[in-house]
Amino acid sequence: MEAKDKNKFVKMWGEHISLLHLVVALIVNISAVLIVLLATINLSKDYRLLIGLGALVIALIVNSSLFRPKRNVVTK
């Protein structure tokens, strides 16, 4: 779909977003959380929260390095 035309984005809350990238990022995040939740099923809720947050931080780093921000930032 949109992926063919690399310069077409959608505007959400004033930011430009590639829907393809967003879908991939969502899959990365949700699967990270799911894997962690399933793997820690025997642990207490608190540890699951801690590990889940860790997984989300890693997902944030992964997503940030996979995709470039659709912003052209210049300082003047």
């Binding site: 949109e2 310069n7 077409k8 984005f9 959608v10 505007k11 959400m12 809350w13 004033g14 930011e15 430009h16 977003i17 590639s18 829907l19 990238h21 967003l22 991939v24 990022a25 969502l26 990365v28 995040n29 949700i30 990270a32 959380v33 939740l37 809720k45 608190d46 699951r48 929260l49 801690l50 889940g52 947050l53 989300l56 997902a59 944030l60 997503n63 940030s64 995709f67 470039r68 921000p69 659709k70 912003r71 052209n72 930032v73 210049v74 300082t75 003047k76």
Partner: protein
């Protein structure tokens, strides 16, 4: 032992201030989803209650200072609380007044935080005095009538809002949605509903992107062009100038008044008081500069007084700021309220507030441009949106399992839909509370 505790309080105030300084700048981060996990975690690992309080206050104060920075620099709000400032910020940016805007916003936040503290303590004093004089506890006096209090709040907010009729009409259906959700799974606690209300608009917009027509309507071409003004020199003189601007009196007065409106939603109060207080100013530039200062002050003030009054006067979350972001403090499992005394707790609160204000305001005054540049250059919005959805998913799943996630997603979509129609967050919060108390009192039977 004592020293250990003091050391922890200091470290966690600094940590909260520093971490949430960056989170504040990241666009679109919603206060409830970013503050709840950290506080829940600190409680879970049995940190002393005062240490958790220190972290939370540091984080909250810092967040309120910095979420306005990207708004001033780029017209993109750093969080939900900064959205009312977009219009004035855009206007000022076109006039090339970005540096002044940030300085007015930051000085506003400083005044607001202090006044929120003062009024908060004042209200605690008044409540305790009334309790002492009449011999009845406020909490017991209104106990049993909470749903009426919140219903009245919802109706009041609806009348104050721009879309009065649709807001009034939304109160009952949203309450019913909450009731249906509780009927389907009675174990869902309050926090998932809060996440549903605050993250609802985001989820709703994601879903509307599935409709080709709506998607093509919001299609844009190429990268977003963002010009960030370079940071200017900031010394003692500039600090004094920022704190002594013409708008200072209006800022202080507005913060004072809105601190008493702690039971209303902070975004709603920010909008309402910010617009009303600056209506009469003729010169557009002065008006916009006063508005950003007032709005940032009001946001900080209502947050601060809401937390203090909820913690120390009522012992339950009477303000949306306390119920949402501060939710963990009122969770009976954490036993927070029973394990603190007013004196030490307020001392820790003031200390953490001062630490965070010092860190956040110094960096905002001096390096706002550079900080925003780094965040905007390296953190793609796709990663932020998916992080927020991931956070909500994790929190709701741990609260009430997969069924809970499904139900809350439905409530969130409904909340997002109503929000799109013009129904404010505050009204939805009040409607949720009304339903929740009606369930608690058996007026809406579950089971």
């Amino acid at each position: 032992m004592e020293w250990m505790l003091l050391l922890q309080i200091v470290i966690f105030a600094v940590l909260g201030g520093l971490i949430y300084l960056i989170i504040g700048i990241i666009p679109g981060t919603d206060e409830t989803s970013v503050l709840v996990p950290a506080t829940v975690l600190l409680f879970a690992f049995n940190l002393p209650p005062l240490v958790v309080l220190s972290f939370f206050i540091g984080a909250m104060v810092s967040l309120n200072v910095t979420d306005s920075i990207p708004t001033a620099l780029t017209s993109i709000p750093g969080g939900v609380m900064a959205t009312p400032m977009i219009e004035s910020s855009t206007f000022l940016k076109e006039r090339g007044l970005v540096t002044q805007t940030i300085r007015r916003m930051t000085s506003g936040a400083i005044y607001g935080t202090f006044i929120g503290l003062i009024v908060g303590v004042l209200v605690v004093g008044i409540v305790k005095l009334i309790e002492f004089a009449t011999g009845t506890m406020i909490e017991q006096a209104i106990s049993g009538y909470q749903h009426w209090v919140f219903l009245a709040g919802a109706i009041f907010l609806a009348f104050m809002s721009k879309k009065k009729i649709i807001s009034l009409l939304a109160i009952v259906p949203f309450g019913l949605a909450v009731y249906l959700a509780k009927l389907a799974s009675s174990t869902i606690s309050a926090t998932p509903f809060f996440l549903a209300i605050t993250a609802g608009p985001l989820l709703f917009q994601l879903v509307t992107m599935l409709i080709p027509k709506l998607r093509s309507e919001s299609t844009v071409e190429g990268d977003k062009q963002i010009v960030i003004e370079k940071d200017q020199k900031f010394g003692r003189k500039e600090f004094v100038d920022s704190m002594k601007a013409k708008s200072t009196k209006v800022t202080i007065l507005s913060s004072f008044i809105s601190s008493f409106l702690f039971f209303l939603s902070p975004v709603g109060v920010t909008m309402l008081v910010g617009e009303t207080a600056t209506q009469r100013i003729k010169d557009e530039e002065t008006q916009a500069l006063t508005k950003v200062s007032v709005m940032n002050a009001v946001a900080s003030a209502t947050y601060m007084s809401g937390i203090i009054v909820s913690l120390f006067a009522f012992g339950f979350a009477i303000s949306p700021a306390a119920a949402g972001p501060g939710g963990a403090f009122f969770n009976p499992d954490n036993n927070f309220l029973a394990s603190i005394k007013f004196g030490p707790a307020i001392a820790v609160l003031i200390f953490a507030m001062l630490v965070a204000l010092f860190i956040a305001a110094t960096l905002a005054f001096k390096y706002a441009g550079r900080l925003t540049y780094l965040v905007f250059k390296y953190i793609p919005q796709e990663a932020v949106i998916s992080l927020l959805i991931g956070l909500a998913f994790l929190l709701v799943y741990l609260d009430s399992g997969f069924i809970g996630v499904l139900i809350i997603s439905g409530v969130a979509l409904f909340a997002g839909f109503l929000n799109r129609l013009g129904v404010g967050h505050g009204i939805l919060f009040m409607s949720f509370y009304t339903a929740l108390y009606m369930i608690t009192f058996g007026l809406l039977p579950i089971a």
